[in-house]
């Protein structure tokens, strides 16, 4: 009797798994045909020369030749690559910090909160490659034209590396801010989940607002900072008006080396972005909690063993 019951349970579980798989199947099919296979295929292509003859496409293995060509003998690509990576490196911390700042301010209760939130999120909705490049091109729509007490014009007369960097910053300030809409909302959602009583307890113990920000808010937000940093790297790195991306798309139909060269270019860029993401992971991952979890797991195992 008991045996029978168990067997029926098992089939029930199997049926559940099957139903789940059926629900999941469209995505799975799509994943293999439209994402996983193309990923592997593009690696394969980047190591082969594609020869297109009427009706057939043939491959000739060339090894690392295209990668070497992209990095060593391409006049343009390494510079584009450096610019894009530098752009990501500079913009990401700024976007994350501003997103955090804005969300901390918006987390207060005050009149007009929804209105401000609406403004800060607007760029996310309207931002597209062509719109961005139209706004950046020749017009001064994306550069602030406010000369604070003549300081900017005074600086403009002096010429050094520092002022150059400052102007680069000022010129791309609006653009970078426009990339932090989603992150702001994510931070805001996380901030609202922090237990208020923690702040109360801290303030009773004599902590100032400043101290409780560094000791409560920031540690709590650490995983969220990792999430938003990774999101920002992807968002800024793969934005379609980025010069490297345009080069990748542009060299797709290169007559002498169709597809392969573009695939190699895209993988070089992808590898660099993945390295940046990995660095972000190393910096923001909560190692303490990871260790704590691991220890908890080990203890659990040890406790179970004697039985």
């Amino acid at each position: 009797m008991a045996f029978k019951k168990r067997k029926s349970l098992l089939t029930m579980r199997r049926r559940d798994a099957l139903t789940g798989l059926l629900f999941f199947l469209p995505w799975l099919v799509g994943f293999f045909t439209l994402t996983a296979y193309p990923l592997l295929y593009s690696i394969y292509i980047s190591f082969n020369q594609v020869v297109i003859k009427p009706g057939v496409i043939m491959f000739e293995e060339v090894g690392w030749a295209y990668y070497r060509q992209a990095l060593m003998s391409d006049v343009e690509y390494p510079i584009l690559l450096m610019n894009s990576v530098a752009n990501v490196l500079v913009s990401t911390p700024m976007a994350v910090v501003f997103a955090l700042l804005i969300s901390l301010l918006l987390n207060n209760r005050f009149r007009g909160r929804a209105f401000y939130r609406m403004i800060f999120f607007l760029p996310v909705v309207i931002m597209s490659g062509p719109v961005m490049s139209e706004l950046m091109k020749e017009t001064s729509a994306m550069t602030l034209q406010i000369d604070m007490f003549g300081i900017v014009s005074l600086l403009r007369t002096t010429d050094s590396a520092w002022t150059g960097a400052l102007f680069m910053f000022l010129n791309s300030f609006v653009r970078i801010l426009w990339f932090c809409g989603v992150q702001t909302i994510i931070f805001l959602a996380a901030l609202q989940k922090i237990d208020r009583s923690m702040y109360e307890a801290a303030s009773i113990d004599g902590a100032t607002v400043w101290e409780s920000f560094w000791r409560i808010t920031l540690p709590y937000l650490k995983p969220i900072i990792l999430l938003t940093t990774v999101y920002t790297i992807i968002e800024i790195g793969t934005f379609s008006d980025d010069a490297t991306n345009q080069r990748i798309v542009g060299s797709m139909r290169d007559i002498t080396k169709p597809y392969s060269y573009s695939a190699a270019l895209s993988w070089i860029y992808a590898a660099l972005l993945l390295i940046l993401i990995f660095i972000a992971f190393l910096v923001f991952n909560d190692w303490k909690e990871a260790r704590w979890r691991r220890d908890a797991k080990r203890l659990e195992k040890e406790r179970k063993r004697p039985r």
Partner: protein, 317 residues
Amino acid sequence: MQSVWKKSGSGRGKAKVRKLFLGNADKRGLLGNLCVYGILTGLGFVFIYPFIYMLSVSFMDTKDLVDSTVTWIPTWLSVESFYRAVHTLDFSNAMMDSLKMSILPALLQSASLALAGYGLGRYPVPLKKLWVALAVLVFLIPAQVTMIPRYLLFNSRGLIGTIWPTYFISLFGQGIKSSVFLLVYFQFFSTYPKSLDEAAQIDGAGRLRIFCRIAMPMAIPAAIVCFLFSFVWIWNDTTQIAQYSTGAATTLPMRLQMFTDRFNKLYSSASVSTGGALNESIRLAGTLLTILPLMMIYLVLQKQFVESIERSGITGE
């Protein structure tokens, strides 16, 4: 005696003033409020500065553009630039193309990802952790690397130059940033109370029916996030449609991309001499027209856009 009174009186007054400016534990003072409003307004201004600039310049005519005394407010509202921009963009056709390429794909994507997220979150699908990990990994790898193989794949089926690639990609839930939505649904469906499903099952409802009648209505916030963001991201994307559907559909952002060429073709050299050359005003009018539909949608649905992110549990529990 008197001095003590005075002292405490002025002390109370000071405390009042202090409370007014610096606030206390419950209420922020005037100074704090001023700070918050000041910083937010400053940053907000930076955010909408490009819009103000666009609005101002696109209503200027050629005379205002070169007049150095006119910086923000045009001498009169000239709609000449808009007229030309509408013409150059071929606005009504572009709008139809944009809608065609974004509404239905966004719907397909949110539906298929809902199914996938439900299956993954609610049922014991084998290798569950692996699929979730793969979805995250795919999000991390820039989409550009899959472009060529996808192109070759669609090309071998003769689908290049039609509207179908975007539809297929969405139908199978592999569109732009689709991993994010899959994770949102997965998160939602793995935390919602399963007893509701079980109750319906006892009442004799089939599994598909449970999904349609019970699970899905509860997942509406997640579905709204998925639909709205898919819609906006597909609308704003130019790479995918330009690669796979050239000729079949030319969306608004794509037309903005070739604005200069189109303009020069439409208004040939004859009109240039009479001050009809492409100028900043016309270009910004075109840009403004391109984002206008999205801005209108956003003004109506801004609450759904912003609040649904908060409610969708994207930040994890």
